[in-house]
Protein backbone atom coordinates (compact mmCIF):
# COMPACT_ATOMS: atom_id res chain seq x y z
CA UNK A 1 0.00 0.00 0.00
CA UNK A 2 1.24 3.42 -0.81
CA UNK A 3 2.53 5.28 2.19
CA UNK A 4 0.73 8.59 2.64
CA UNK A 5 3.03 11.45 3.28
CA UNK A 6 0.94 14.27 4.61
CA UNK A 7 3.63 16.86 4.98
CA UNK A 8 3.95 19.35 2.15
CA UNK A 9 6.64 21.70 1.10
CA UNK A 10 5.69 25.34 1.50
CA UNK A 11 5.59 25.80 -2.24
CA UNK A 12 2.82 23.23 -2.51
CA UNK A 13 0.56 24.60 0.18
CA UNK A 14 -2.61 25.84 -1.55
CA UNK A 15 -0.75 25.91 -4.84
CA UNK A 16 -3.41 26.17 -7.55
CA UNK A 17 -3.56 23.23 -9.91
CA UNK A 18 -5.96 22.36 -12.70
CA UNK A 19 -7.30 18.87 -13.25
CA UNK A 20 -9.00 18.56 -16.63
CA UNK A 21 -10.50 15.13 -16.98
CA UNK A 22 -13.87 14.05 -18.32
CA UNK A 23 -13.97 10.76 -16.44
CA UNK A 24 -15.56 11.60 -13.06
CA UNK A 25 -13.83 8.70 -11.31
CA UNK A 26 -10.36 9.80 -12.38
CA UNK A 27 -11.27 13.43 -11.68
CA UNK A 28 -12.38 12.72 -8.12
CA UNK A 29 -9.39 10.48 -7.52
CA UNK A 30 -6.92 13.12 -8.69
CA UNK A 31 -8.75 15.80 -6.75
CA UNK A 32 -8.56 13.86 -3.49
CA UNK A 33 -4.89 13.02 -3.89
CA UNK A 34 -3.89 16.54 -4.81
CA UNK A 35 -5.90 17.98 -1.93
CA UNK A 36 -4.21 15.54 0.44
CA UNK A 37 -0.91 16.86 -0.82
CA UNK A 38 -1.96 20.44 -0.10
CA UNK A 39 -2.96 21.74 -3.51
CA UNK A 40 -5.89 23.98 -4.28
CA UNK A 41 -7.62 22.02 -7.00
CA UNK A 42 -9.56 23.48 -9.92
CA UNK A 43 -11.58 20.94 -11.86
CA UNK A 44 -12.78 20.86 -15.44
CA UNK A 45 -14.75 18.13 -17.15
CA UNK A 46 -14.30 19.38 -20.68
CA UNK A 47 -11.84 21.27 -22.85
CA UNK A 48 -13.65 24.63 -22.86
CA UNK A 49 -13.88 24.80 -19.10
CA UNK A 50 -10.25 23.73 -18.81
CA UNK A 51 -9.26 26.55 -21.15
CA UNK A 52 -11.07 29.16 -19.06
CA UNK A 53 -9.22 28.03 -15.93
CA UNK A 54 -5.91 27.57 -17.69
CA UNK A 55 -5.93 31.20 -18.79
CA UNK A 56 -5.92 32.43 -15.19
CA UNK A 57 -2.45 33.64 -14.24
CA UNK A 58 -2.32 31.91 -10.84
CA UNK A 59 -2.84 28.46 -12.35
CA UNK A 60 0.68 27.30 -13.09
CA UNK A 61 0.37 23.52 -13.09
CA UNK A 62 -2.22 21.63 -15.08
CA UNK A 63 -2.96 17.96 -15.48
CA UNK A 64 -4.78 17.52 -18.76
CA UNK A 65 -6.48 14.43 -20.05
CA UNK A 66 -5.60 13.67 -23.65
CA UNK A 67 -9.13 12.83 -24.77
CA UNK A 68 -11.77 15.24 -23.65
CA UNK A 69 -14.95 16.53 -25.19
CA UNK A 70 -14.63 20.05 -26.53
CA UNK A 71 -10.90 20.39 -26.71
CA UNK A 72 -8.37 17.62 -26.37
CA UNK A 73 -5.28 17.85 -24.19
CA UNK A 74 -2.72 18.55 -26.92
CA UNK A 75 -4.97 21.22 -28.42
CA UNK A 76 -5.09 22.92 -25.01
CA UNK A 77 -1.29 22.77 -24.79
CA UNK A 78 -0.91 24.30 -28.24
CA UNK A 79 -3.38 27.05 -27.52
CA UNK A 80 -1.87 27.94 -24.16
CA UNK A 81 1.61 28.20 -25.61
CA UNK A 82 0.31 30.74 -28.10
CA UNK A 83 -1.02 33.14 -25.47
CA UNK A 84 1.12 35.25 -23.20
CA UNK A 85 0.78 34.43 -19.55
CA UNK A 86 2.85 36.31 -16.95
CA UNK A 87 4.24 33.00 -15.74
CA UNK A 88 5.07 29.68 -17.25
CA UNK A 89 2.40 26.99 -16.88
CA UNK A 90 3.66 23.45 -16.43
CA UNK A 91 1.52 21.00 -18.37
CA UNK A 92 1.21 17.28 -17.72
CA UNK A 93 -0.74 15.23 -20.24
CA UNK A 94 -2.58 12.08 -19.25
CA UNK A 95 -2.99 9.44 -21.86
CA UNK A 96 -4.46 5.98 -22.00
CA UNK A 97 -2.37 5.32 -25.03
CA UNK A 98 1.34 5.04 -24.74
CA UNK A 99 2.83 4.68 -28.17
CA UNK A 100 5.85 6.83 -28.93
CA UNK A 101 3.92 8.67 -31.61
CA UNK A 102 1.54 10.02 -29.02
CA UNK A 103 4.34 11.07 -26.73
CA UNK A 104 6.04 13.05 -29.45
CA UNK A 105 2.77 14.64 -30.53
CA UNK A 106 1.99 15.67 -26.97
CA UNK A 107 5.42 17.10 -26.25
CA UNK A 108 5.48 18.94 -29.55
CA UNK A 109 2.13 20.50 -28.72
CA UNK A 110 3.79 22.07 -25.69
CA UNK A 111 3.31 19.58 -22.85
CA UNK A 112 6.16 19.37 -20.35
CA UNK A 113 5.48 15.85 -19.22
CA UNK A 114 3.03 13.01 -19.73
CA UNK A 115 1.72 10.10 -17.75
CA UNK A 116 -0.20 7.03 -18.74
CA UNK A 117 -3.46 6.10 -17.09
CA UNK A 118 -4.34 4.76 -14.64
CA UNK A 119 -2.12 7.17 -12.81
CA UNK A 120 0.47 5.87 -10.40
CA UNK A 121 0.28 8.45 -7.62
CA UNK A 122 3.79 7.96 -6.29
CA UNK A 123 4.99 8.75 -9.76
CA UNK A 124 2.65 11.70 -10.11
CA UNK A 125 3.97 13.16 -6.89
CA UNK A 126 7.54 12.85 -8.06
CA UNK A 127 6.66 14.47 -11.37
CA UNK A 128 4.94 17.34 -9.55
CA UNK A 129 8.16 17.92 -7.63
CA UNK A 130 9.88 18.36 -10.96
CA UNK A 131 7.16 20.82 -11.95
CA UNK A 132 7.80 22.85 -8.82
CA UNK A 133 11.52 22.92 -9.52
CA UNK A 134 10.85 24.40 -12.95
CA UNK A 135 8.40 26.93 -11.54
CA UNK A 136 10.75 28.03 -8.78
CA UNK A 137 13.56 28.35 -11.28
CA UNK A 138 11.38 30.58 -13.42
CA UNK A 139 10.37 32.69 -10.43
CA UNK A 140 13.98 33.26 -9.50
CA UNK A 141 14.82 34.10 -13.08
CA UNK A 142 12.00 36.64 -13.29
CA UNK A 143 13.03 38.20 -10.00
CA UNK A 144 16.60 38.53 -11.20
CA UNK A 145 15.39 40.00 -14.47
CA UNK A 146 13.21 42.51 -12.62
CA UNK A 147 16.14 43.54 -10.45
CA UNK A 148 18.39 43.94 -13.48
CA UNK A 149 15.82 46.08 -15.22
CA UNK A 150 15.53 48.25 -12.12
CA UNK A 151 19.30 48.59 -11.84
CA UNK A 152 19.61 49.47 -15.50
CA UNK A 153 16.87 52.09 -15.51
CA UNK A 154 17.08 53.87 -12.18
CA UNK A 155 19.58 55.98 -10.37
CA UNK A 156 20.98 54.04 -7.43
CA UNK A 157 21.15 57.02 -5.08
CA UNK A 158 17.72 58.55 -5.52
CA UNK A 159 15.77 55.74 -7.24
CA UNK A 160 14.62 58.31 -9.76
CA UNK A 161 14.84 57.22 -13.40
CA UNK A 162 18.37 57.48 -14.71
CA UNK A 163 19.36 59.84 -17.48
CA UNK A 164 19.04 57.32 -20.32
CA UNK A 165 15.62 56.20 -19.19
CA UNK A 166 14.09 59.64 -18.66
CA UNK A 167 15.36 60.64 -22.12
CA UNK A 168 13.68 57.53 -23.51
CA UNK A 169 10.41 58.51 -21.82
CA UNK A 170 10.66 62.02 -23.25
CA UNK A 171 11.17 60.59 -26.73
CA UNK A 172 8.13 58.34 -26.32
CA UNK A 173 6.07 61.28 -25.14
CA UNK A 174 7.22 63.31 -28.17
CA UNK A 175 6.06 60.48 -30.47
CA UNK A 176 2.70 60.46 -28.76
CA UNK A 177 2.42 64.23 -29.07
CA UNK A 178 3.36 64.21 -32.75
CA UNK A 179 0.64 61.64 -33.44
CA UNK A 180 -1.70 64.37 -32.29
CA UNK A 181 -2.30 62.95 -28.87
CA UNK A 182 -1.66 65.19 -25.89
CA UNK A 183 0.79 67.93 -24.93
CA UNK A 184 3.33 67.52 -22.19
CA UNK A 185 5.57 69.66 -20.05
CA UNK A 186 9.24 69.31 -19.24
CA UNK A 187 10.94 70.76 -16.19
CA UNK A 188 14.62 71.07 -15.41
CA UNK A 189 15.05 71.35 -11.69
CA UNK A 190 18.20 72.49 -9.96
CA UNK A 191 18.70 72.78 -6.25
CA UNK A 192 19.80 76.22 -5.12
CA UNK A 193 23.14 76.42 -3.35
CA UNK A 194 23.75 72.67 -3.55
CA UNK A 195 27.50 73.22 -3.44
CA UNK A 196 27.08 75.17 -0.25
CA UNK A 197 25.14 72.33 1.38
CA UNK A 198 27.91 69.91 0.47
CA UNK A 199 30.56 72.28 1.75
CA UNK A 200 28.76 73.04 5.00
CA UNK A 201 27.31 69.64 5.95
CA UNK A 202 29.38 67.20 3.89
CA UNK A 203 28.65 65.16 0.79
CA UNK A 204 26.50 62.69 2.65
CA UNK A 205 24.18 65.53 3.52
CA UNK A 206 24.01 66.43 -0.15
CA UNK A 207 23.01 62.84 -0.95
CA UNK A 208 20.32 62.87 1.72
CA UNK A 209 18.88 66.11 0.42
CA UNK A 210 18.73 64.75 -3.13
CA UNK A 211 17.07 61.55 -1.99
CA UNK A 212 14.49 63.49 -0.03
CA UNK A 213 13.85 65.82 -2.89
CA UNK A 214 13.00 62.94 -5.21
CA UNK A 215 10.68 61.46 -2.58
CA UNK A 216 9.03 64.83 -2.14
CA UNK A 217 8.50 65.07 -5.89
CA UNK A 218 6.96 61.63 -6.09
CA UNK A 219 4.52 62.49 -3.34
CA UNK A 220 3.50 65.73 -4.99
CA UNK A 221 3.30 64.64 -8.60
CA UNK A 222 0.66 62.56 -10.35
CA UNK A 223 1.49 58.88 -10.59
CA UNK A 224 2.02 59.09 -14.34
CA UNK A 225 4.51 61.96 -14.06
CA UNK A 226 8.13 60.90 -14.20
CA UNK A 227 11.17 62.17 -12.35
CA UNK A 228 14.66 61.46 -13.62
CA UNK A 229 18.13 62.37 -12.50
CA UNK A 230 19.76 64.27 -15.32
CA UNK A 231 23.09 64.69 -13.60
CA UNK A 232 24.56 65.99 -10.32
CA UNK A 233 21.80 67.84 -8.54
CA UNK A 234 19.77 68.34 -11.68
CA UNK A 235 16.45 66.57 -12.06
CA UNK A 236 14.13 66.33 -15.03
CA UNK A 237 10.40 66.09 -14.52
CA UNK A 238 8.19 64.90 -17.36
CA UNK A 239 4.54 65.92 -17.10
CA UNK A 240 2.42 63.98 -19.60
CA UNK A 241 -0.83 65.64 -20.62
CA UNK A 242 0.13 69.02 -19.20
CA UNK A 243 -0.07 72.19 -21.28
CA UNK A 244 1.80 75.35 -20.35
CA UNK A 245 -0.81 76.39 -17.84
CA UNK A 246 -0.80 73.05 -15.94
CA UNK A 247 2.96 72.80 -16.15
CA UNK A 248 3.29 76.22 -14.54
CA UNK A 249 0.95 75.26 -11.72
CA UNK A 250 2.74 72.00 -11.04
CA UNK A 251 6.16 73.65 -11.10
CA UNK A 252 4.96 76.33 -8.69
CA UNK A 253 3.61 73.63 -6.40
CA UNK A 254 6.99 71.85 -6.38
CA UNK A 255 8.68 75.11 -5.56
CA UNK A 256 6.27 75.67 -2.72
CA UNK A 257 6.34 72.22 -1.08
CA UNK A 258 10.12 72.17 -1.27
CA UNK A 259 10.41 75.52 0.38
CA UNK A 260 8.09 74.49 3.19
CA UNK A 261 9.59 71.10 3.93
CA UNK A 262 12.44 70.48 6.31
CA UNK A 263 14.92 67.80 5.37
CA UNK A 264 16.39 65.91 8.27
CA UNK A 265 20.05 65.04 7.88
CA UNK A 266 21.69 61.96 9.39
CA UNK A 267 23.36 64.25 11.91
CA UNK A 268 19.94 65.29 13.14
CA UNK A 269 20.11 68.77 11.68
CA UNK A 270 17.16 70.00 9.68
CA UNK A 271 17.60 72.13 6.62
CA UNK A 272 15.42 73.67 3.95
CA UNK A 273 16.33 74.07 0.35
CA UNK A 274 14.91 76.04 -2.51
CA UNK A 275 14.72 75.19 -6.19
CA UNK A 276 15.20 76.86 -9.48
CA UNK A 277 13.04 75.42 -12.20
CA UNK A 278 13.18 76.00 -15.91
CA UNK A 279 10.76 74.39 -18.28
CA UNK A 280 8.86 74.32 -21.50
CA UNK A 281 5.86 72.57 -23.00
CA UNK A 282 5.05 71.11 -26.39
CA UNK A 283 2.03 73.36 -26.91
CA UNK A 284 4.21 76.48 -26.63
CA UNK A 285 6.90 75.34 -29.05
CA UNK A 286 6.68 75.08 -32.82
CA UNK A 287 9.58 72.66 -33.05
CA UNK A 288 9.06 69.67 -30.84
CA UNK A 289 12.35 67.82 -30.74
CA UNK A 290 14.22 66.44 -27.80
CA UNK A 291 17.18 68.80 -28.19
CA UNK A 292 14.93 71.80 -28.51
CA UNK A 293 12.93 70.85 -25.44
CA UNK A 294 15.99 70.31 -23.27
CA UNK A 295 17.84 73.39 -24.50
CA UNK A 296 14.78 75.59 -24.01
CA UNK A 297 14.29 74.26 -20.47
CA UNK A 298 17.97 74.76 -19.80
CA UNK A 299 17.84 78.36 -20.94
CA UNK A 300 14.80 78.95 -18.75
CA UNK A 301 16.60 77.38 -15.81
CA UNK A 302 19.62 79.57 -16.43
CA UNK A 303 17.41 82.64 -16.37
CA UNK A 304 15.71 81.47 -13.15
CA UNK A 305 19.12 81.25 -11.53
CA UNK A 306 20.20 84.58 -12.90
CA UNK A 307 17.07 86.33 -11.68
CA UNK A 308 17.79 85.27 -8.11
CA UNK A 309 16.86 81.53 -7.79
CA UNK A 310 13.82 80.09 -6.00
CA UNK A 311 11.56 80.58 -8.98
CA UNK A 312 10.06 79.00 -12.06
CA UNK A 313 10.66 80.21 -15.58
CA UNK A 314 8.84 78.62 -18.49
CA UNK A 315 9.77 79.39 -22.07
CA UNK A 316 7.83 78.97 -25.26
CA UNK A 317 8.49 80.32 -28.73
CA UNK A 318 6.87 83.63 -27.93
CA UNK A 319 6.13 83.54 -24.23
CA UNK A 320 7.93 83.70 -20.97
CA UNK A 321 6.19 82.72 -17.79
CA UNK A 322 7.65 83.52 -14.42
CA UNK A 323 6.53 82.42 -10.98
CA UNK A 324 8.31 83.31 -7.79
CA UNK A 325 7.74 82.88 -4.11
CA UNK A 326 6.18 86.19 -3.37
CA UNK A 327 3.83 86.58 -6.23
CA UNK A 328 2.62 83.92 -8.61
CA UNK A 329 2.46 86.50 -11.33
CA UNK A 330 2.77 85.97 -15.03
CA UNK A 331 4.54 88.10 -17.54
CA UNK A 332 4.50 87.58 -21.23
Amino acid sequence: MEEERKEETSSQKYFPILVAEDDPVARRLLEKKLKDWGYRVYKAENGEKAWEILKQPEVRIAILDWMMPGMEGPQLCLRLRQVKKPHYTYLILLTARDTSFDIIQGLEAGADDYMTKPVNFMELRARLQAAHRIIELEDRLLQAQKKLIRLATTDSLTHAWNRGTIIKFIREEIDRYLRGDRPFGLLMVDMDNFKQINDTYGHQAGDTVLQNLVKLFKRNLRNYDRTGRYGGDELIVLLPGSDIYDTGLIAARLLDVCRKSKIRLKTGQKISVTLSIGGTTTDSLSQVQINNLIQTSDRALYLAKKLGRDRVILFGDSIKLEMTEKQNDRKS
Partner: protein, 117 residues
Protein backbone atom coordinates in the same frame (compact mmCIF):
# COMPACT_ATOMS: atom_id res chain seq x y z
CA UNK B 1 -24.95 -19.47 -14.99
CA UNK B 2 -21.66 -21.23 -14.50
CA UNK B 3 -18.59 -19.18 -13.79
CA UNK B 4 -16.05 -19.36 -16.54
CA UNK B 5 -12.70 -19.77 -14.78
CA UNK B 6 -10.99 -17.80 -17.53
CA UNK B 7 -13.42 -14.92 -17.11
CA UNK B 8 -11.82 -11.75 -15.77
CA UNK B 9 -12.70 -10.84 -12.18
CA UNK B 10 -15.22 -8.00 -11.77
CA UNK B 11 -12.92 -6.10 -9.43
CA UNK B 12 -9.38 -6.40 -8.25
CA UNK B 13 -10.03 -4.82 -4.92
CA UNK B 14 -6.52 -5.09 -3.46
CA UNK B 15 -5.08 -3.32 -6.44
CA UNK B 16 -7.77 -0.64 -6.45
CA UNK B 17 -7.27 0.06 -2.74
CA UNK B 18 -3.53 0.22 -3.16
CA UNK B 19 -3.87 2.75 -5.93
CA UNK B 20 -6.22 5.09 -4.12
CA UNK B 21 -4.33 4.99 -0.85
CA UNK B 22 -6.07 2.24 1.12
CA UNK B 23 -9.26 3.94 2.24
CA UNK B 24 -12.23 1.62 1.83
CA UNK B 25 -14.64 4.48 2.33
CA UNK B 26 -13.09 6.43 -0.51
CA UNK B 27 -13.22 3.38 -2.76
CA UNK B 28 -16.97 3.15 -2.07
CA UNK B 29 -17.35 6.82 -2.93
CA UNK B 30 -15.53 6.26 -6.22
CA UNK B 31 -17.62 3.18 -7.00
CA UNK B 32 -20.74 5.26 -6.47
CA UNK B 33 -19.42 7.85 -8.93
CA UNK B 34 -18.66 4.98 -11.29
CA UNK B 35 -22.22 3.65 -11.04
CA UNK B 36 -23.70 7.01 -11.98
CA UNK B 37 -21.24 7.43 -14.79
CA UNK B 38 -21.96 3.95 -16.08
CA UNK B 39 -25.72 4.57 -16.16
CA UNK B 40 -25.20 7.84 -17.99
CA UNK B 41 -22.77 6.38 -20.50
CA UNK B 42 -24.72 3.21 -21.20
CA UNK B 43 -27.86 5.24 -21.88
CA UNK B 44 -25.82 7.45 -24.18
CA UNK B 45 -24.36 4.36 -25.88
CA UNK B 46 -27.81 2.92 -26.51
CA UNK B 47 -28.87 6.16 -28.16
CA UNK B 48 -25.62 6.40 -30.13
CA UNK B 49 -26.05 2.85 -31.44
CA UNK B 50 -29.60 3.58 -32.62
CA UNK B 51 -28.33 6.73 -34.34
CA UNK B 52 -25.19 5.05 -35.73
CA UNK B 53 -23.15 7.75 -34.02
CA UNK B 54 -19.79 5.97 -34.03
CA UNK B 55 -17.86 8.93 -32.66
CA UNK B 56 -19.95 8.93 -29.49
CA UNK B 57 -19.72 5.13 -29.24
CA UNK B 58 -15.97 5.44 -29.37
CA UNK B 59 -15.84 8.25 -26.82
CA UNK B 60 -18.15 6.50 -24.37
CA UNK B 61 -16.13 3.32 -24.69
CA UNK B 62 -12.91 5.22 -24.15
CA UNK B 63 -14.19 7.04 -21.11
CA UNK B 64 -15.61 3.89 -19.48
CA UNK B 65 -12.34 2.13 -20.18
CA UNK B 66 -10.46 4.78 -18.22
CA UNK B 67 -12.89 4.81 -15.32
CA UNK B 68 -12.82 1.00 -15.13
CA UNK B 69 -9.04 0.94 -15.17
CA UNK B 70 -8.86 3.43 -12.32
CA UNK B 71 -10.98 1.19 -10.11
CA UNK B 72 -9.32 -2.02 -11.26
CA UNK B 73 -12.40 -3.47 -12.91
CA UNK B 74 -10.70 -5.73 -15.47
CA UNK B 75 -13.82 -7.28 -17.04
CA UNK B 76 -15.54 -3.94 -17.54
CA UNK B 77 -12.32 -2.38 -18.75
CA UNK B 78 -11.94 -5.00 -21.44
CA UNK B 79 -15.55 -4.72 -22.56
CA UNK B 80 -15.24 -0.93 -22.66
CA UNK B 81 -12.22 -1.37 -24.91
CA UNK B 82 -14.31 -3.59 -27.20
CA UNK B 83 -16.91 -0.84 -27.31
CA UNK B 84 -14.29 1.77 -28.17
CA UNK B 85 -12.94 -0.45 -30.94
CA UNK B 86 -16.43 -1.07 -32.30
CA UNK B 87 -16.87 2.68 -32.56
CA UNK B 88 -13.51 3.10 -34.19
CA UNK B 89 -14.20 0.33 -36.71
CA UNK B 90 -17.75 1.58 -37.29
CA UNK B 91 -19.02 -1.90 -36.49
CA UNK B 92 -22.60 -1.54 -35.32
CA UNK B 93 -23.06 -5.23 -34.55
CA UNK B 94 -19.94 -5.30 -32.39
CA UNK B 95 -21.14 -2.18 -30.60
CA UNK B 96 -24.50 -3.82 -29.80
CA UNK B 97 -22.76 -6.91 -28.47
CA UNK B 98 -20.35 -4.82 -26.44
CA UNK B 99 -23.14 -2.82 -24.84
CA UNK B 100 -24.97 -5.99 -23.90
CA UNK B 101 -21.79 -7.39 -22.42
CA UNK B 102 -21.10 -4.13 -20.57
CA UNK B 103 -24.48 -4.33 -18.87
CA UNK B 104 -23.90 -7.97 -17.94
CA UNK B 105 -20.50 -7.19 -16.49
CA UNK B 106 -21.89 -4.23 -14.60
CA UNK B 107 -24.59 -6.43 -13.07
CA UNK B 108 -21.94 -8.97 -12.15
CA UNK B 109 -19.93 -6.27 -10.41
CA UNK B 110 -22.97 -5.03 -8.50
CA UNK B 111 -23.77 -8.54 -7.38
CA UNK B 112 -20.20 -9.19 -6.40
CA UNK B 113 -20.01 -6.01 -4.35
CA UNK B 114 -23.34 -6.60 -2.59
CA UNK B 115 -22.24 -10.11 -1.66
CA UNK B 116 -19.00 -8.80 -0.28
CA UNK B 117 -20.63 -5.88 1.49
Amino acid sequence: MTENPKRLPPINKEEALARIGGEEEFLNELLEIYRNEFQKRSAELKKAISEKDFQTIREDGHSLKGASANLSLPALRETALETEMAGKNQDLEAARKALKKLKAEFDRLQKFLSQKG
